[in-house]
């Protein structure tokens, strides 16, 4: 196993900068997740580490050794491709054993068979060993691609959106299965995805990428609760975090946030008062997650309550999403799936102001990050 270090890694395709000055350390055996929308440079970063793409500048070290001048087949790196990239003319067994028979790797035949059987058992594809890739479902192809990457126990394991091409039901099941699998993976692993649920569920540490640049690095819960900027806040969580532009006001000693159209009034929580003390910021964006909003049924304290009308109500998965129009804003509120609402009926909402995040209206950066 080995520690992976990226130093100011940059990659340009023509005049498009796919990866922009990425510096990152991945500890030996760590399960790091890179999260970002499509086109954020996630796959390019993986391909730079694997060596199938050449960096424009910056260095890659595995186990302390520089990798830039070394061809992919000499790096002990394995990769499961988003398109699975199985060898169409080999059956599953040959696909799995292919890396073990590479030149320079002296594995005895029964050692190869043992490892193939073991990984097939782990991913329960042992009954598919004699099938050709075109006879497999997407779910099965995904497991074979994963098996081929894991079979030779590489120093670094790169997984490119392994389960994003499956239908919703299968993807949820595979995510849980992946969580169980995590314990069996000892290699330093980078898992790339655009689905925040996978990131939150699987990551020891999470890196958010946007247009090739790192936005934030940290634990999944930390990024969810304390996003570095609006982009990270919007990326994590469904329905998306509500953003309300507010001005700061001090009324009888209490620092308050008033939405620009005055429809929403919020108390500034204790932990955020320090950052606002210097009074430089006048316009801020208040980030309120839908689960921190509730439908008031009358007996709630006066402050942090607002009223509006039902714009649309939709049941999705385990929750219902009420979109209420409050003044000029549209706020999403998470409700239980049993609720039901009538369009345009009045509704009053309670806001748990203690879970608030505040962002500078110009730079969109979290006020706690200077």
């Amino acid at each position: 196993m080995a520690k992976l270090v990226l130093e100011h890694l940059t990659k340009d395709f023509g005049n498009v900068r796919a990866v922009n000055d990425v510096s990152l350390e991945v500890e030996d055996g760590e399960f790091l997740v890179i999260l970002g929308p499509s086109g954020a440079g996630k796959t390019t970063t993986l391909k730079l580490i694997a060596g199938v793409e050449r960096p424009t500048s910056g260095m890659i070290y595995i186990g302390g050794k520089p990798m830039n001048a070394i061809e992919p087949h000499h790096r002990n790196v394995a990769m499961a491709f988003e398109s699975y990239a199985l060898y169409p003319h080999y059956n599953v067994r040959d696909n799995l054993s292919f890396p073990l028979k590479a030149p320079g790797r002296k594995f005895a035949q029964q050692e190869i068979d043992r490892r193939v059987e073991e990984v097939a058992e782990l991913l329960n594809i042992h009954m598919l060993l004699d099938r050709l890739p075109r006879m497999l479902s997407n779910g099965q192809k995904q497991r074979v691609a994963l098996g081929r990457a894991m079979v030779r126990e590489p120093d670094v394991l790169l997984l490119d959106e392994p389960i994003s091409h499956l239908d919703a039901k299968l993807r949820h099941r595979m995510r849980t299965e992946f969580k169980a699998l995590e314990a069996a993976i000892r290699a330093t692993t980078i898992y790339v995805t655009h689905d925040y649920l996978e990131a939150m569920s699987l990551a020891d540490r999470l890196v958010v990428l946007k247009e090739g640049s790192i936005q934030q690095i940290g634990g999944p819960h930390e990024l969810f609760v304390n996003p570095a900027n609006v982009f990270v806040a919007q990326l994590l969580g469904h329905p998306q975090i509500n953003l309300v532009e507010c001005t700061l006001q001090r009324t009888n000693g209490v620092l308050e946030l008033i939405s620009t159209d005055g429809a929403i009034k919020l108390e500034v929580p204790e932990r955020l008062r320090g950052a606002l003390a210097d009074g430089k910021l006048d316009r801020v964006l208040a980030g309120i997650r839908p689960q921190h909003l509730g439908v008031a049924n009358g007996h709630h304290p006066a402050s942090n309550v607002c009223s509006g009308t039902v714009y649309v109500y939709e049941r999705l998965g385990t929750k219902g999403t009420l979109t209420a129009s409050v003044g000029a804003h549209r706020l999403d509120v998470l409700t239980s799936i049993e609720e039901s609402f009538v369009i345009d009926e009045p509704v009053s909402l309670t806001i748990d102001h203690t879970q608030l995040s505040l962002f500078d209206a110009q730079t969109h950066k979290n006020i706690l990050f200077n």
Binding site: S23, R54, S57, M59, P66, N68, E71, I217
Partner: protein
């Protein structure tokens, strides 16, 4: 922002740059594996260059030293003013235009018929390519035999349906018709196969939508099938028009350019003058001119095909 990276590898980045480049052999790989093909390319361009050069001299095999007599464009000037030039130009164009247009229309008809996927269509389709597989020279000999007054079968067939016998390629009036007939017999399968592949590549849903929209067969054909088939039509035109402009085997095997000069196309003239009469300098200009015409037309058609492909796929290109 990116955490304080304790840079264990603090050495300056420039020094690392040297160790960061791949070995020369790896970087030069694309050019190395293209080398043999480039050698053959050169091996063909050299004689081509010499051919053009010869056409600028007074070179004739039976007159020693005539190669060093550089005359510039005199041969081309003489060619254009020569008596046979006008006839040769018209016959070359007539042959190419008539062959290509008949093959395109007949091919489209056959493709539409075969696209109906009936059992009969599937069986017949396997034999569609046969005429094109026969060597052009041999195919022409068979037709020549069928057109033979004594042993041939065509005239008896014509008489059987009350039509008078024809003298086919032995008289100027029907010579062109005879050779174009053989060309059509041989290459219509090409047009049919390409257009059939085109029809079969269409997505099914737009045509179902047209049915739901209540469009008539003709309305659908004109507004949907034809525009979407254009790139395939252009491929047929590209291949057939270019090939029939330089057709040699059929005409040579049928009449060697006769009767008289009726079928003396550019290729035949270039062949007879350069090879039979050994006057390279007079024959080559025909071949070089034909090359220039074909090169320019094929460039234009390939560009046009790219555009048509985008338009048929729905871009405004």
């Amino acid at each position: 922002m990116t955490g304080n990276l304790a840079s264990v590898h603090a050495s300056s980045l420039q020094k690392q740059e040297v160790r960061a480049r791949l070995p020369f052999l790896v970087r030069a790989r694309p050019y190395l594996i293209l080398l043999p093909a480039l050698l053959i390319l050169v091996g063909i361009l050299i004689p081509f260059g010499m051919g053009v050069y010869y056409s600028l001299t007074a070179y004739a095999l039976n007159r020693p030293g005539s190669l060093d007599n550089f005359v510039g464009l005199r041969n081309y000037d003489r060619m254009i003013n020569s008596s046979g030039f006008m006839n040769s130009t018209t016959i070359t164009l007539k042959y190419a235009l008539s062959a290509t247009s008949v093959e395109l229309l007949l091919g489209l008809g056959i493709a539409m018929l075969l696209n109906r996927d009936t059992l009969l269509a599937k069986i017949l389709q396997t034999t569609l390519i046969f005429p094109m597989m026969v060597a052009p020279v041999i195919g022409t000999l068979i037709w020549k035999l069928m057109m033979q007054p004594s042993v041939g079968i065509l005239n008896p067939m014509l008489n059987a349906v009350g039509l008078p016998s024809l003298q086919w390629a032995s008289v100027p009036e029907t010579a062109l018709f005879s050779v174009v007939l053989v060309d059509v017999w041989m290459f219509t399968p090409f047009a049919a196969l390409i257009l059939l592949a085109g029809l079969r590549s269409f997505p099914r849903e737009p045509f179902e939508a047209a049915r739901v929209d209540g469009a008539s067969l003709w309305f659908t054909f004109r507004n949907l099938t034809l525009p979407m088939l254009t790139p395939y039509i252009i491929i047929v035109v590209l291949f057939r028009f270019m090939d029939s402009l330089k057709q040699f085997d059929i005409i040579f095997a049928m009449t060697e350019g006769g009767p008289g000069n009726t079928l003396m196309t550019y290729q035949l003239t270039a062949y007879r003058t350069s090879i039979q009469y050994l006057r390279l300098a007079q024959g080559l200009p025909y071949a070089v001119t034909l090359f220039v015409v074909i090169y320019i037309t094929s460039q234009y058609l390939v560009k046009f095909w790219g555009k048509a492909q985008r338009r048929a796929a729905g871009y405004s290109s």
